[in-house]
Amino acid sequence: MKVCDFIRPASLAEAREALKNLGSHGMALAGGTALHFLLDEAPVTAVDLTRLGMSYIREEDGWYRIGATTPIADIQRHRAPRWALHEICRRMATHQIRNVSTIGGNIARVFPWADLPVVLLAMGAEMAVEGDAGEELVGADAFFAEQPAKRFEGSGSLLTAVKVPALAAHHGFGSVKVVRTSAAFSMATLAVKLELDGDGIASARVAAGAALPFPRRLPEVEAALAGKEAGEAAFAEAAKVAEGAAPWRGKEGMSAEYSKHLAGVALRDALERAARFARERE
């Protein structure tokens, strides 16, 4: 991506106005680490969003609100009761990228290998989008129903924060990212939120990405888990259901068959982690 001009708006309103006026010639910039890989020929004006006070993590009525330009490293280092986002953040890219790359930049334009959309889908996160009518909260299912960048292009609306629910007691979360080397893009990312009632699964949210064209939930797997005892038998069954629940695809030397198998194994691992989280973590 060729940057022909660089502006630093003084407020969110100014940033929105600038992006609206620029239309397809404007590019919202946070960490910018992915911009270098967009190969569009047409030069753009970069609109720097990192100086608008959108880097923070706050607790808010049972939710954690994370500013859109909060670096991945800050989310990774954050610790709070029943906070689960640090695990996947530690597994993303490298130290230097985590210091610059932001949560907003990671999800406002979704690359197929992205981990955070998977995690946010499973968590039931909400995205705060500032538009002409003020702030709108968009649920993860709607937000990731198609490429989120489409929602923002030329509209002047901006992602300002991500809200993830603080997990209640007996709720657990697990995320697994399979890679060949620690800094490589994901081969398969699976995430699970389990709500336990005693030993039983009251409900489950399951999402996957990287081995798929686009991150998505796996409703058949969720249905297969509901009402079962949280344990090996149900998890193995869920992995079997997962094989037919999404168009697993091969890439970078992996066959589609391998990718499908990998997703099943990663799912079992994520389920075990989520169950352990629900039972053991304070």
């Binding site: 940057v3 910018g32 680490t33 990192t50 490293a73 890219a93 130290h95 230097q96």
Partner: protein, 160 residues
């Protein structure tokens, strides 16, 4: 085409540079003579271009120079000299840890961020700070051992 201006503190000195909005911080630094910061992969993988931005290790090859406006940038030129190497640089020399040397400036900047940001240096923490620097000579063992000597000494001193 130099049509923009960027101001930032470079190794403790307030500076102003002409730049192009598309120029990467790495290219600006090298153009201005700060050639200790290396161009390796140019795509945020190898870590040879690591500099500190407000004390955090970043890849200068992935950062537009304009993103540094008003920030504090530190390069390897701030770390020590041939005559007076830093503690880690001396350990690298003593341990024979420098092979081709291309990755070393980046390694030192990541280690600097680690030493300035943390007080406990368990292996997991060290790995976390150093996971974005590759050594194509695969000289990791000696680099790690040299760093470990510095960190152990610091931890021991802190306990006193």
């Amino acid at each position: 085409m130099m049509e923009a201006t960027v101001r930032f503190t470079l190794n403790g000195e307030k500076r102003e540079f002409r730049t192009d909005p598309d120029e990467k911080l790495l290219d600006l630094l090298r153009r201005e003579g700060y050639r200790g910061t290396k161009f390796g992969c140019g795509q945020g993988t190898c870590g040879a271009c690591t500099v500190l931005l407000d004390g955090r290790a970043v890849y200068a090859c992935l950062l537009y120079s304009m993103q540094a406006e008003g920030r504090e940038v530190r390069t390897i030129e701030s770390a020590g000299t041939f005559e007076k190497p830093s503690e880690f640089q001396q350990e690298l020399i003593d341990g024979g840890a420098v092979q081709c040397g291309y990755c070393i400036p980046g390694m030192i900047m990541s280690a600097t961020a680690l030493m300035e940001s943390e007080t406990h240096y368990d292996d997991e923490t060290v790995k976390e700070y150093m996971d974005g620097n590759l050594c194509r000579c695969t000289g990791y063992e000696k680099i790690w051992a040299a760093l470990r000597r510095v960190l152990d000494r610091r931890e021991a001193a802190a306990k006193k």
